[in-house]
């Protein structure tokens, strides 16, 4: 049992399909995120990324397929699966009326971690994201980038081995985007946490990253960014994405 669990992937998604009425949001999606890897789920808006997140976090129930976190099935053993998972949702989820530390205390309590231990932990995670001196400030008074950093700190509080981030850089300025991306990459390198990072912005991808290209609910290609480009005989992931989806890639230079 022990060896089986430690050999299991951080996140294993197997043959998952999901539809809203007649519209199919996910169609037989399978992939895995190994531990200690920065893995990018790339897809335009409406590709099914958020639906996938809702299934992993058990907001919706799985109809077809299976998802497991370190070998713990999300449907049959949700408690064991969810306690190994940290999530940063696309929507802002801090309680704006509470202070940064109170937000962390609440989250920790939901994981059964008491206030005393949380105070030690929150100092460590906040220091890590450079927000330690803002612990007593109201969440309302933070900038968008600072809120994101606090949300990442919060997601790490209960010591997960897998971190999911759903378009975490949406709505942030260039500097904040770069900071957060660099921070999460460093986290993977230093702590061995597995990360699934969803985005539609191609410039967030390094050639060595694992990339899963998703389009209209289906996976078109997966592998390292450089490998995908090589297989399609194009210079980089940008051109590969354009070729795969038959669309013009979304470039950050068009957004700013």
């Amino acid at each position: 049992m022990q060896t089986q669990v430690s050999a299991a992937a951080a996140l294993e998604v197997a043959h998952v399909s999901h539809s809203y009425g007649a519209r199919k949001a996910l169609d037989d999606v399978s992939f895995s995120v190994p531990a200690a890897r920065f893995c990018v789920l790339l897809g335009p808006n409406g590709a099914g990324k958020s639906t996938l997140f809702a299934l992993v976090t058990r907001l919706f129930a799985m109809r077809h397929g299976a998802i497991s976190i370190f070998g713990h099935d999300v449907s049959s053993t949700p408690g064991e699966a969810l306690r190994r998972l940290g999530v940063v949702f696309q929507a802002r989820t801090l309680d704006l009326d509470l202070s940064v530390e109170q937000n962390l205390l609440y989250h920790a309590a939901l994981h059964g971690i008491g206030a005393k231990r949380t105070r030690q932990l929150s100092r460590a995670v906040l220091e890590r994201v450079g927000m330690a001196e803002r612990a007593d400030d109201k969440a309302r008074d933070l900038s968008g980038g600072q809120m994101r950093r606090v949300e990442i700190a919060r997601a790490l509080l209960h010591g997960p081995r897998l971190l999911l981030l759903d378009e975490p850089t949406v709505g942030l300025d260039m500097q904040a985007r770069t900071d957060i991306l660099a921070y999460v990459r460093r986290l993977v390198a230093e702590t061995g946490i597995g990360v699934l990072w969803t985005t539609h912005l191609l410039d967030e991808i390094h050639p060595a990253d694992d990339v899963i290209v998703m389009h209209k609910g289906a996976i078109l290609q997966q592998g390292s960014a450089a490998g995908i480009a090589a297989a399609l005989d194009v210079p980089d992931i940008k051109s590969a994405f354009a070729k795969l989806t038959g669309s013009r890639p979304v470039d950050v230079s068009e957004l700013v």
């Binding site: 022990q2 669990v5 430690s6 809203y20 009425g21 949001a25 531990a35 958020s50 639906t51 976090t57 058990r58 907001l59 919706f60 129930a61 370190f70 449907s75 949700p78 408690g79 064991e80 699966a81 969810l82 306690r83 190994r84 998972l85 999530v87 949702f89 929507a91 802002r92 989820t93 309680d95 009326d97 509470l98 109170q102 205390l105 609440y106 989250h107 920790a108 309590a109 939901l110 994981h111 059964g112 971690i113 008491g114 030690q120 932990l121 460590a124 995670v125 220091e127 890590r128 790490l156 010591g159 997960p160 081995r161 986290l187 230093e190 702590t191 061995g192 946490i193």
Partner: protein
């Protein structure tokens, strides 16, 4: 500087985490949910003021205006003639809890729209436990509001026959608060958006409050309209009011107790099913 591995033991988590949760995890979780609800309540001072002013307006204006209009005979649990403000006080206490229950359902819809609900639902503890804790938190807030009202009423000399009434009414309010909160929670699962909440006001709060024994005794209603009296007796809110009314006079109305307990179970089961990912409304709604 300590590394994150050292400070969090992150390298050992994942594999070596002991399976399952102890009662201590549950206790910390429930306390956290109640603490957050209390903090929110303290931060929303307007909510507290309006929760207090609403019943006081009824007490000072409505009851004062109607005290001579409505003659009251001696009905249980009362042993003497009582003033009209004494009669409507249990109804106003239940009204505080009704509004509070609907308000926390409003906050659940708000939380869902704002994404805060997701923070709650990704907790690894079972969902029935999370929802029940949230309900408990809302009920405790409503009880604080009721005691604040009773304090003001005490200055106005609206008091039960014995001070023990303030104690014996507590379990009754726990149960009625749970029932009305569970009803609100169930309704919140069925409402798609915040804007639809005005409908709840018209179709839930008003019919429940006015077609009940909160403002007038049912025998009096029966004189005017027998079918309306039947409807009132069917209304669970009537039984919440009567449960509180009897408990305030250190008595138990067994029929009301049974109805309120039964409705609590039904509404709570409905809410838990509605928020269960495999059967509930959430999945059907999509995005």
């Amino acid at each position: 500087m300590t590394t994150l591995e050292q400070s969090l033991d992150i390298s050992s988590l994942g594999q070596e985490m002991p399976a399952g949760f102890t009662w201590k995890h549950y206790a910390i979780c429930a306390r956290g949910i109640i603490w957050r609800e209390a903090l929110r309540f303290i931060h929303q001072r307007e909510r507290f003021v309006s929760a207090l002013v609403r019943p006081l307006v009824w007490l000072f204006i409505f009851a004062a205006g109607f005290r001579s209009v409505l003659g009251l005979s001696i009905i249980p649990p009362y042993k003497t003639y009582i003033h009209y403000q004494d009669y409507i006080t249990p109804g106003l206490m239940a009204m505080i809890q009704l509004f509070n229950g609907m308000q926390s359902s409003l906050s659940m819809i708000y939380d869902r729209e704002m994404g805060n609900m997701r923070t709650l639902l990704v907790s690894p503890l079972p969902r029935w436990f999370l929802l029940t804790s949230k309900l408990m938190a809302g009920t405790l807030v409503s009880i604080m509001q009721v005691y604040a009202y009773l304090l003001v009423a005490w200055f106005w000399n609206v008091v039960p026959d014995s001070n023990w009434g303030y104690v014996t009414v507590l379990p009754a309010m726990l149960l009625s608060g749970f029932m009305l909160g569970a009803l609100g929670m169930f309704i919140s699962s069925a409402i798609k958006q915040l804007e639809n909440f005005a409908g709840v006001m018209n179709f839930v709060i008003f019919p429940m409050f006015f077609a009940s024994s909160a403002l007038y005794p049912l025998w009096k209603v029966r004189m005017g309209s027998p079918w309306l009296a039947d409807y009132c007796e069917f209304n669970p809110f009537t039984h919440a009011v009567e449960l509180i009314r009897f408990a305030l006079y250190q008595q138990v109305n067994w029929t009301s107790l049974a109805v309120v307990a039964g409705c609590t179970v039904i509404f709570l089961t409905g809410a838990i099913i509605a928020y269960d990912p495999s059967r509930g409304m959430l999945a059907r709604k999509g995005g």
